[in-house]
Amino acid sequence: MRPRRRKTPSTSGGPSVQPAQSFPQRNRAAWLTTARRAAISGFLIFHILGVTCWCIPVTSPLVLAGRSFIRPYFLWAGLFQSWDTFSPSPKAINSYVEAIVLYQDGHTKIWAFPRMERLSLTQRYFKERYRKFVENLKEDTNSALWPDAARFIARLNNNGPSPVIKVFLVRYWSNIVPRADDPYTPGPWDAHVFYAYVVEPQDLK
């Protein structure tokens, strides 16, 4: 059972208790609580407005100004975010990426990124990051990633007597066309070599 606190100070030599707070002490405690709440409220208002500005897709000048104001802090603290999965429009193509690896002796090898539709359920859980990576890799806006990816593929496939000298990244895609009167039939596949990388000897180390 929890010991009960006495409400009045003891004068008879019994167990000592804390004296009641004096008026200035109470005032100070109340002031501290108010100040603490005010500081937390400031933190809350800043973050609610900041997160709202950041993630709601509005392009009014005020929101854009707010976004650029909070940008350094949000990037630093890891509060940046976007919730645009399948939007504004879901992808209308099936696609995947393969690499053609060219060796010094002239032979080639096709290396494929893991494709979710060809993996078991368990493997898909473990290899999900490849799906996301390829989704980004194949975009032209992410061309800065291509040299690193080509080097990685070169190292991965450099296990024979002849060294890798070139890596080509190939994008394959097939349009998804909705038909109201017909069951869905997948379209034909197109291919495009979107990057070629000349492998240097130091890339293979």
Partner: protein, 317 residues
Amino acid sequence: MRLSSIVRAWDSFFFEPTSPVPIALFRIAYGGLVIATLLLLWPDWLTWYGPHAWVSLSTMHQVEPGTRLNIFAVIPQNDNWVEGLFWVFVGSAVSLTIGLLTRLNNLIVFLCLTSIQQRNLFITHGGDTFLRLAGFFLIFAPAGAAVSVDRLIRIRRGKEDAAVVRPRSPWAQRMIQIQLALLYFAAFCSKAEGAPWVQGTALFYVYHLDELRRFPVPSWFLQPTVLKLGTWAALALEFSLGVLIWIKDFRYYLLALGVLFHLFLEYSLNIPLFEWDVLAAYILFVDAADIERAWNWIHHPRIAGGKLLLTKPFPST
């Protein structure tokens, strides 16, 4: 409406002490999901984050410039350091889940989580982002005040009463709730800008993406009319979970619909962990008194044991 009534409503919403049990349960779910994320990544820790990863640290800095919380930027770039960081991360995530040195481990988990995402932003999905954001606000929450080893230690040392969990200020919990509601509302706004969502064809494309297909869905679901209705229903639900969730009368119905929605996506689409990352935060919208009732209903014979960590009814959230 007077300014004083707005201030009172603000104070009541963010500062009126409430049971820490929902945030403690969220901490457990959150920790479990972080551990699951790490285990799924485990075979590829070095593949994605090592010195010879798919994306190098320098490329990442070039693509995403600016000063960022990123431990990878300060540790030596070799396999041992990277693996060491991951093991620290795992240890902290386990400690956070059981509620041992909760706040410290919360901070470490957030730093590590932010770091691995900053190290390679090209492999993160929405679930990872939500864990990162929730982790930030969780640092400020009384996440170890209930259902935790920290609390057991405090009880053993006589610093806390076993029968009562002291209500705490819920402002950090409210921020995670607001973050979740904004997630849905922002998703709704982004979708509402797209013609396929307005015309009702969006789900047709989603359910014909080979890479996302998981278990087979019934053929009637793929009929154009059903997909159209499904597209609009998804939009309506995202709007409701972002806006109407704050109206108490609707809350449990919307949460139930949200659970069904995410479970269906988990069954039909291959987006590992995203649904669970989001569903975990639903706990924060459940009244502590209802959690108590559910706990007692499940564990009635062991109710005395239950009291050790939970307690008598709390002020409602």
